[in-house]
Symmetry: C2
Subunit: 184 residues, 2 copies
């Protein structure tokens, strides 16, 4: 499990509320780790009980009061320990790959439609990543420290999306009868 640690990383970059964190998990760090707000609140409560984060209640008018969380020294230690600890490589779980294998006897149209749809979604995501890179890291060669790390992670995401799109295109051109015209 690593939501705790993803939260630690995010809070270490900047203190914030559960609500803030939930929004960050919709973009930024959320590109590489997802979480709903319920899950975030639940885990934050546990982290507070474990002494990994401290809370400051901020009263607001016009808006609900909020709890701003910060990483404690114990939290930083826990993060450092986790980083050093070897983790098992991620398990790839691809619905689409399973569908593709399952569609060997017919259902080709259905699976191709799904592949095209996913191609579109990933192309969108790639655009978001590339725009974010252009906006936030205009001069990658000079990056250092935190910004360099953030950029490297973003580069990883860009690579993944590009690979996915290339694969989708390969699948489409291999399976779509239209694309195969003239190849037989």
């Amino acid at each position: 499990m690593a939501l705790e640690h993803a939260i630690l990383v995010s809070l270490a970059e900047r203190a914030g509320t559960g609500y803030d964190l939930a929004r960050r998990f919709d973009n930024s760090i959320g590109y590489f780790w997802s979480a709903t707000h319920q899950q975030v609140y639940k885990v934050l409560a546990r982290m507070q009980a474990d002494g990994w984060v401290s809370v400051t209640l901020v009263e607001q008018d016009g808006r609900p009061d909020k709890k701003v969380y910060e990483v404690t020294a114990a939290g930083r230690d826990a993060l450092a320990g986790w980083i050093a600890e070897p983790a098992a490589p991620e398990v790839t779980r691809s619905d689409l790959a399973v569908k593709l294998r399952g569609a060997a006897d017919g259902h080709l149209d259905a699976v191709l439609a799904e592949v095209r749809r996913h191609r579109g979604l990933h192309a969108q995501r790639l655009d978001v990543y590339l725009a974010s890179e252009k906006r936030e890291f205009p001069d990658p060669a000079r990056l250092q420290g935190r910004r360099l790390h953030q950029w490297l992670v973003l580069r990883g995401g860009i690579g993944l999306e590009q690979t996915a799109i290339t694969w989708f295109d390969d699948v489409i051109s291999a399976l779509d009868p239209k694309s195969r015209k003239g190849t037989t």
Copy 2:
């Protein structure tokens, strides 16, 4: 959820026992969907209750009796329905990306060691995939039907591993002081 469907796909390719399925999830289809034997047995029981699979008890001597599962017509329908049904794109969850972002203040050695270790693991996996491709699909241009689908899925896995390895190398050369010698 899709373990049910992954099992349907695997059983549709060839009937088998829970034990067989668990082993297939350690390679082949397991490259893209993982499952422990406990999970497989649990889900098989539910699938049988739902009428997606039928069972034949095979008595053996010298070995434990076994239950061979086959996909029923209802199971095939369920699979077809699932294939056509749009699914949300996979959520990437990368421990390593989180670690990399979390290691911005020190802990560089620890995170680099992890990156190197993962690079090794992915290189191994890539070798397995490439060997499997060479062995099972020596002439990809002529593939059709089920074999073509299987090959496409394997190609996807190969692409992912190559992308991962390239990213690891980029990260190492960007962060390792040794690789940076002369670049400053």
